[in-house]
Subunit: 361 residues, 2 copies
């Protein structure tokens, strides 16, 4: 990442806002959506950040995402919501839905919501962070277009189907939450693309080739495998987690399930993605001060675990540490955007939005 150009945050957010506005997203929704998208780059998840903007814009132009879709409540109780995103923009409808979940959890202790007819919603961690900032535990899941083969299968029937859980560690907005944000595949597709560009082999257990055979050739890789890899190291577990995410976000939400979700590789139609969000108040279960005190001790005990000789030079981390460190670094060094992505953003600007993002390193 040493050579990746870095850009000033405000200029990047403003550029994304303008691009979204030019694509038809209502002006009042653009700042939030742009902030949401750029957060992925700040947290080091470049595959889900502004690199996706050209894809989103192309889908707006082809009428495959409705920039002004409403978010409607289809069913509800005091603690549940079944929402319909009407094929709206993920970066608008997702945060709107999670905001409703948080509001309802504030009133009733917890809320679980499904969202149907959605689109790619960015990093799942952005939603759970919304909950953690309000002193709540948050959960977010989404299905996605097919890319992961079931255990023993030779072709994809599941998306990377990520799960995020965030837990607040204190009452202050700057207490750093624990944030798990993981695909249920061994790796995300972006890791295969990195290996392709670097010309390196893949570890066994990442991918299958066209015939469905495990492969270490990044260029031959076509499908991903579930977390756990082959059966003897628990591939049925990652597969099982992926299935559960897809049931929640697909059939339960009334959305498509993964083999039927349309993505960049799929047919030219609305994605049909579904999401599941949850939030619950800490004080529904325990006195928050006692919880935060115990959690701090637990996290310290984890951090102080002696390091295995096989991993000398590393240290035991808490889920979310790497993303938090990336965000901190982005804060003082600027946000890294890979050169090819900068070129693509410049091409978007050619349509009338001034390309004035400020390089700082």
């Amino acid at each position: 990442m040493a050579d990746t150009p870095r850009f000033e945050r405000a200029s990047l957010v403003t550029f994304v806002e303008r691009v979204l506005r030019s694509a038809g997203v209502p002006a009042d929704a653009c700042p939030g959506a742009a902030t949401h998208l750029v957060l992925a780059d700040e947290r080091g998840v470049a595959s889900h950040g502004v690199a996706r903007l050209p894809f989103y814009v192309a889908r707006f132009r082809r009428g495959l995402i409705d920039p002004v879709a409403p978010l409607t409540v289809e069913r509800q109780t005091a603690a549940t919501l079944a929402l319909d995103a009407h094929n709206g923009f993920g970066m608008v409808q997702g945060p709107r839905a999670m905001g409703m979940v948080i509001d309802r959890a504030r009133a009733s202790g917890l809320c679980v919501a499904t969202v149907r007819h959605g689109n790619h919603f960015g990093i799942a961690g952005a939603y759970t962070l919304m909950a953690a900032r309000e002193g709540m535990i948050g959960v977010a899941m989404t299905n996605a277009s097919p890319l992961v083969a079931p255990l023993f299968g030779s072709e994809a029937r599941l998306g990377t189907n990520p799960i995020s859980v965030a837990v607040p560690t204190g009452p202050a907005a700057d207490d750093p939450p624990v944030v798990l944000d993981m695909s249920t595949s061994t790796v995300a597709w972006g890791k295969v693309e990195i290996a392709r560009r670097a010309g390196t082999a893949l570890p066994l257990g990442w991918a299958l080739d066209e015939a469905g055979d495990p492969t270490t050739d990044a260029h031959a890789a076509r499908w991903l495998t579930p977390l756990g890899g082959p059966p003897e190291t628990g591939g049925h577990k990652g597969y099982g987690l992926g299935v559960i995410v897809d049931i929640m976000c697909g059939p339960l939400a009334g959305a498509a399930w993964s083999a039927r979700v349309s993505g960049a590789r799929g047919p030219d139609r609305a994605a049909g993605i579904g999401h599941t969000f949850m939030a619950w108040r800490v004080d529904a279960f325990r006195d928050p001060d006692e919880f935060y005190a115990d959690l701090a001790t637990f996290l310290s005990e984890l951090r102080e675990t002696p390091v295995s000789p096989a991993y000398a030079g590393n240290r035991v981390l808490i889920p979310g540490d790497p993303e938090r460190e990336a965000e901190r670094e982005a804060g003082y060094r600027g946000i890294p955007i890979a050169a090819p992505v900068v070129t693509e953003l410049r091409a978007l600007a050619a349509t009338g939005v001034p390309f004035d993002i400020v390089r700082v390193a």
Copy 2:
């Protein structure tokens, strides 16, 4: 398993009931607890079945489990419960707690509960099956005594911290639910014990030795590793899942967290385990008939996935298939109990309970 003796179910349940009653468990609680325990053996999870009975009895005798403890509500809302099991028997307090969760979810759409001061509660899948039989999606998690090293760590700071999710596939009691029931380690410790007895090597990625180095020597294995194994194949994900389970079941529940949970290897005191249970009604989110129809299609599409040449002879399964198959086989062939376990059960019987379990194969 061909040589494992098999026993008639009713005789086994009755024997367990009598042993529990002689240990001080109230008579009206014994049938449910015995059924719960034997279900693990029926479903092929022998490590969590009657093999644990001598361990439980020893703990009853040493006053480390209270057979008559109440289950009290510490906090509640329409959709949440914070429960205290007062160091009661896991196989009594666990089902009682999940029953309360199901009742509350029936009324309010969903319920999430934590349980503090618990004990080993058997297979997590037994709880989620309770929900699925009522037409609800169920979730169960528990922490456990330390056995799993954090990623990069050289010694245990987490339990195997299992997660189960069950999803009903139809309105009838005999519609087979989807059941994920997984530890967040690569494998459960029982697999290491099997390799020890068989004299086989462990796959790399299962275990660490005393020094914290990865090992393939079953006898040298001392700690388990998180699902995903080394960092390049996603060990941070299994570790992260284990941490989240422990936060929910430990600090949030007001229970011990794993490094402080006492188990068979730990100090001679109450376990201090915590659990988290959830249940939600399908119809809070979607018309159940539509849900069941979509889910059936999704599951069919998974089952029909072409098989990878690397796994010829296998087929793509649905989470819960192996346990369901074991249960079906146990139904007509009897319940398998390994010979050394039978010997231990006989030793329990020496204290006055007639040892009259009926061998059928």
